[in-house]
């Protein structure tokens, strides 16, 4: 099936984060600058440089025992300085579904 994940248009530089789902539970996680996986996008490493992004993606893909389906997702720095999703699909992944207070919004309380 086609992936609905937003692809960057060539020539449109945009910051990215490495994201994936945690292997055991399936929860959405993000790669931090110090090589941890975090459930909070705010703690993710915001990557501006494409070459660096590819290296970080390879690093993530090298951890099949931790995460599944790693990819680069568009992100940006929000008004308060925290990293936030730059596409509505990623916003749902970062928060949880809109019909119930389940997922991250339940666990984290304030996203």
């Amino acid at each position: 099936m086609t992936s609905a994940s937003p692809r960057r248009k060539p020539g449109a530089p945009q910051a990215q984060v490495v994201t994936a789902n945690e292997l055991l539970g399936g929860e959405v996680v993000y790669l931090t600058a110090d090589d941890r996986w975090t459930p909070r996008i705010a703690e993710a490493e915001l990557i501006e440089d494409e070459a660096h992004a590819q290296i970080r993606l390879l690093f993530a893909q090298g951890q099949p025992d931790r995460v599944v389906g790693a990819y680069l997702a568009p992100a940006r720095r929000g008004p308060g300085g925290a990293v936030e999703p730059a596409h509505f699909r990623e916003a749902f992944r970062a928060k949880g579904p809109s019909n119930y207070p389940h997922g991250k919004q339940e666990a984290l309380g304030n996203v």
Partner: protein, 555 residues
């Protein structure tokens, strides 16, 4: 209903043992995700947006109370206390952990259920009329045939790697409630001129990015030829299906490309080869299955309590008038339990609600529950005298919404709230429309109306078949909703046509409201249904309602 044999149970136990070992090998690193993915999909395990998802088949939409209680238990123990019933008579759990899934599969097997072939390029869950065995208009109960097809197609070595997934639906009633025209194979039990029962066989229907209605490949197939004939169709599909291009891999594309005459020749030729190898074993199996689908022992009782409640209680009357359908036995009714309370998620039921429905089925419904492709539950055999109490207990559990077949009885796929393939949300749109019709208090005035919503072109929400269909897409980084009008899932199946430019998330509910109000103005009488009005007046007045006069002229 059908009960598993010792072999069925042994097969399931072995499959679960294998899957448990596969999960363990995935976790210890001996299987990569690429190796593991097809294995988990064979067991109905998807990776969705927020979590894994487990899709469990409910063959031909039939459940017994024990099974429904087990689903409730699974929802509570391993998920978030609810399950989602889908348009293919499956139930999906949205939050299981991968490591728990072997245990969940074991719990399912305890009640003769599984998740096999709910994914992948296989023959998927065979769906059937949810009123099967009960409907007054039925020629014959299609479920023994559906069960025969299920047994034959499960783990069939020739059909595990089809060019693409393959969906079969079956109805025993001329009022097609199973959407047979939009399945890879649609089977309709018919009677020929001599009064013999057989099947009208449709092939090549489907929705998705290339919606097509099935074409009749055989107008009358003697019943006993069903398996060899279906096998012949699958074998032609296996040979000619476009494995080179997944967007062209469904059988509808080869029916379209080769034409139905050529397909018929190929199928009939293959059928002639296969027929002699079916020596009657399948008919013996069928006879054994059919005994398990024996109709319940109906009784004759006074329906006075029903009439009295109907006269005395307007809430009960409204429910009875919308949610009951004619049963073939005098004094009985088919009761649809709406999973579409205004503002609720279409198709979701909590564990407590599942248990209540299981109790009601046991106490009043001959132990039968059905799941409809319209994402509701059904008590197919209830005596009218018991309906006041059934209604009262449903009401206490928030399950007595009187809206079956009305504007708020919306089919909606999970969309971008859960589905990894989605391009937009669908659930909140359904919630918004349902809340709005409730505020306006117009749905009983509007009358029968089908609104169907999909969160992407794959069309799991059957949007092409709605009076009003809504397709959620992404345009320039935001959610956009395209409207189609004039679809029909029934015997007069029709694919709706697109209206014009899409609407934003904030605009889509008001747009649907304008369509409903326009219909109220335009219809000749309350008896004229939305589709009939549309055919009579054409699309222009509805375009005008959606876009304003000017744009409608330009469109």
């Amino acid at each position: 209903m059908y009960e598993y044999s010792a072999e069925d149970r042994a097969f399931l136990a072995e499959r679960i043992r294998q899957f448990r070992a596969q999960v363990a090998r995935r976790l210890d690193g001996s299987l990569t995700e690429d190796e593991f993915r097809p294995l988990r999909l064979m067991n109905g395990v998807y990776l969705q947006l927020h979590a894994y998802m487990l899709r469990v088949a409910i063959p031909y939409g039939t459940l017994n109370p024990r099974q429904l209680r087990q689903l409730a238990m699974i929802a509570e123990r391993w998920d978030k206390g609810y399950g989602h019933f889908t348009t293919r008579q499956n139930i999906q759990f949205n939050w299981p952990r991968l490591i728990d899934i072997p245990d969940i599969l074991e719990a399912l097997a305890e009640v003769d259920m599984h998740a096999i072939q709910t994914s992948g390029n296989t023959v998927r869950n065979v769906t059937a009329d949810h009123f099967a065995g009960a409907a007054a208009d039925e020629i014959a109960d299609p479920r023994p045939w559906a069960e025969l097809l299920r047994q034959w197609s499960t783990d069939h070595p020739e059909f595990q790697f089809l060019p693409r997934k393959f969906k079969i639906a079956i109805t025993g009633s001329p009022r097609d409630r199973a959407a047979t025209a939009v399945h890879d194979i649609g089977l309709r039990i018919v009677r020929n001129a001599d009064g013999a029962e057989g099947f009208e066989v449709l092939v090549g229907g489907g929705l998705g990015r290339t919606p097509m209605l099935g074409k009749v490949v055989r107008s009358f197939l003697p019943k006993e030829d069903l398996l060899p004939y279906v096998e012949a169709i699958l074998s032609v599909f296996n040979e000619f299906g476009r494995r080179d291009n997944k967007y062209k891999a469904r059988i509808k594309i080869i029916v379209h490309e080769l034409g139905i005459e050529r397909i018929r020749e190929l199928v009939e030729a293959r059928f002639a080869e296969l027929r002699p190898s079916f020596t009657g074993v399948d008919q013996e199996v069928l006879a054994r299955i059919a005994r398990m689908f024996r109709a319940p022992d109906f009784v004759r009782r006074d329906t006075a309590p029903f009439e009295a409640a109907r006269a005395a209680d307007p809430v009960f009357r409204a429910w009875a008038d919308t949610n009951l359908a004619p049963h073939r036995t005098e004094g009985y009714a088919i009761a649809t339990i709406s999973l579409k309370a205004h503002g609720a998620t279409p198709g979701d039921a909590t564990a407590a609600q599942m248990r209540l429905v299981a109790d009601l089925a046991e106490e009043f419904g001959h132990g039968e529950i059905r799941v409809s492709h319209e994402q509701n539950l059904v008590l197919p055999h209830v005596h009218k005298a018991d309906l006041p109490e059934i209604h009262a207990r449903l009401k206490a559990a928030g399950l007595a919404t009187a809206n079956v077949g009305l504007a708020s009885d919306i089919i909606s796929c999970p969309g971008m709230d859960y589905c990894a393939l989605a391009t937009a949300r669908s659930i909140p749109v359904a919630q918004g429309i349902a809340r709005r019709v409730e505020e306006l208090r117009i749905e009983h005035e509007v009358g029968p109306m089908k609104i169907k919503i999909s969160g992407c072109i794959n069309a799991c929400g059957h949007h092409h078949l709605g009076d009003i269909g809504i397709l959620g897409l992404e345009r320039a980084g935001v959610e956009t909703y395209q409207i189609t009008l004039g679809g029909d899932a029934g015997p007069e199946a029709a694919i709706g046509s697109r209206t014009g430019p899409g609407f934003s998330y904030d605009e889509i509910v008001p747009a649907v409201e304008r369509l409903m109000l326009a219909y109220l103005e335009l219809r000749e009488s309350p008896a004229e249904r939305f589709g009939e009005t549309l055919r009579r007046v054409g699309h222009a007045p509805f375009h005008a309602a959606l876009y304003g006069e000017e744009k409608a002229d330009a469109a």
